[in-house]
Amino acid sequence: MSRLLAVAALLLMPGWAEAHAFPDHSEPRVGHTVEASPPAVRIWFDGRIEPVFSTIRVEDAERRRVDKGDSHVDPADRKLLEVGLPPLPPGRYRVFWSVVARDGHRTQGDFAFRVK
């Protein structure tokens, strides 16, 4: 029982242990169509991420990179990863991200959105 309590305590200690960071939500929303070109792609994760090793890029349907190349973690919100976008013509775009949680756990993924 004491070991169980110890484990429970570890799980509840904020900042002591960090695990894989998974996306919580994003703008534009995963798989959705937006009415106009969004100014940026933003992904909020379920844990703090490491700025130096967390990246995001956006490609069009021809796999050409279209983002501004200014991928960064928001200094005021270490769960937010974003990249600026120029005005995008209507079409389908895919976002690729790779993040490292604060203790070195890496996760990666991708999703699509469409501009009307």
């Binding site: 799980l11 894989h20 995963v30 844990g47 070195g104 993924g109």
Partner: protein
């Protein structure tokens, strides 16, 4: 023999007190997360602890025994020895409560297993592994029918996510399947038993210990995969971390009087996974009435030790500290 039994008993006690039945792993391949399934094993190796796994099923009566409620309390500890090789120790405490009789309790045999992942394809979310399980006979309690002989089970595992389907089938992408196939070979072909009747006559019986083909797996639909990689349908927490699952845990004796007769269960349920642990609950539905005509239940708390304390639990003898299970 005595030394072997003592050693094994010590391991069982250590497992029950400090750590963790079938080897159940969790893992990432590409962007696909596979949870640890409750009734069957998956192909991953990981540093993890299932404590406890609780199962309940009322067994049908036979000519020799009344209908009996069976409750199993299991624990399992799994440890990676290298990025692709892992071992597991599992123990089960069994409670048998027959209708009209008094309950009996005892430990089942210790189970030791090893697994090696020999193929990974992150792009296709595909993983293949080989395993070997050793049911250490003679150390469990005869009161709960623990076998007096060893059983060796070579195994083949696979896991496959469907994230590589074309975009026209995007709502199918969160699906994944796992499979586990094993051949349980007893170390003793016959078990000799002696029974003495009222007249003092001794009856010697030598029932066959069958070789059993064990097969099963799971079908999963990962709602986190749907939300994060396919389509955000606005699922709130905690539903956005749930994986509806149907498991199949079946076995078919290859010899003996029950040769070819498949028994087992189909287990629909749901698994929720967090950052450090997962919770799972399933109904246990027998595929036929050979074992039971009732529906049972299975529940588990499973800790991701490699995420909780990576510097401690992911240490390996030849590869140092591995860190948590990473996407491959």
């Amino acid at each position: 023999m005595r030394g072997k039994s003592l050693l094994a008993c010590a391991c069982v006690l250590a497992l029950v007190l400090a750590a963790s039945r079938p080897a159940l792993a969790h893992g990432l391949i590409g962007k696909r997360f596979f949870p640890a399934t409750l009734a069957t094993d998956d192909p991953f190796v990981a540093d993890e602890l299932s404590l406890p796994t609780v199962s309940y099923l009322k067994l049908r009566g036979t000519d020799e025994a009344p209908p009996t409620k069976q409750i199993d309390l299991s624990a399992e500890f799994s440890k990676r020895l290298s990025p692709d090789l892992g071992i597991s120790l599992g123990g089960t405490f069994t409670i048998l409560d027959p209708d009209g009789g008094s309950a009996v309790t005892g430990f089942d045999n210790l189970e030791i297993s090893a697994k090696y992942v020999f193929f990974k394809s992150p792009a296709h979310e595909l993983l293949l592994a080989l395993g070997l399980s050793w049911d250490v006979g003679g150390i469990g309690s005869k009161k709960v029918d623990a076998e007096s002989f060893d059983t060796w089970t070579p195994q083949l595992f696979f896991g496959k996510g469907f994230g590589d389907l074309p975009d026209q089938l995007e709502l199918m992408k969160p699906f994944a399947v796992t499979g586990a196939f094993g051949l349980a070979v007893p170390s003793r072909v016959h078990t000799k038993t002696f029974e003495t009747d009222e007249d003092g006559n001794v009856d010697v019986k030598k029932p066959l210990n069958p070789t059993v083909f064990q097969w099963g797996g799971s079908i999963q639909y990962n709602l986190q995969y749907l939300q994060s990689y396919v389509r955000d349908i606005g699922l709130p927490a905690p539903i956005n971390r749930m994986i509806p699952v149907v498991e199949f845990a079946l076995e078919t004796p290859l010899d003996g009087r029950d040769a070819g007769r498949t028994t087992g269960t189909v287990n629909p349920g749901v698994i929720w996974f967090g950052r450090y642990f997962q919770l799972g609950i399933e109904a246990v539905i027998p595929v036929n009435r050979d074992v039971s005509k009732n529906i049972g239940a299975l529940a588990q708390i499973h800790f991701y030790l490699d995420d909780i304390l990576p510097q401690v639990f992911t240490w390996t003898p030849f590869h140092g500290v591995l860190g948590p299970t990473q996407p491959q």
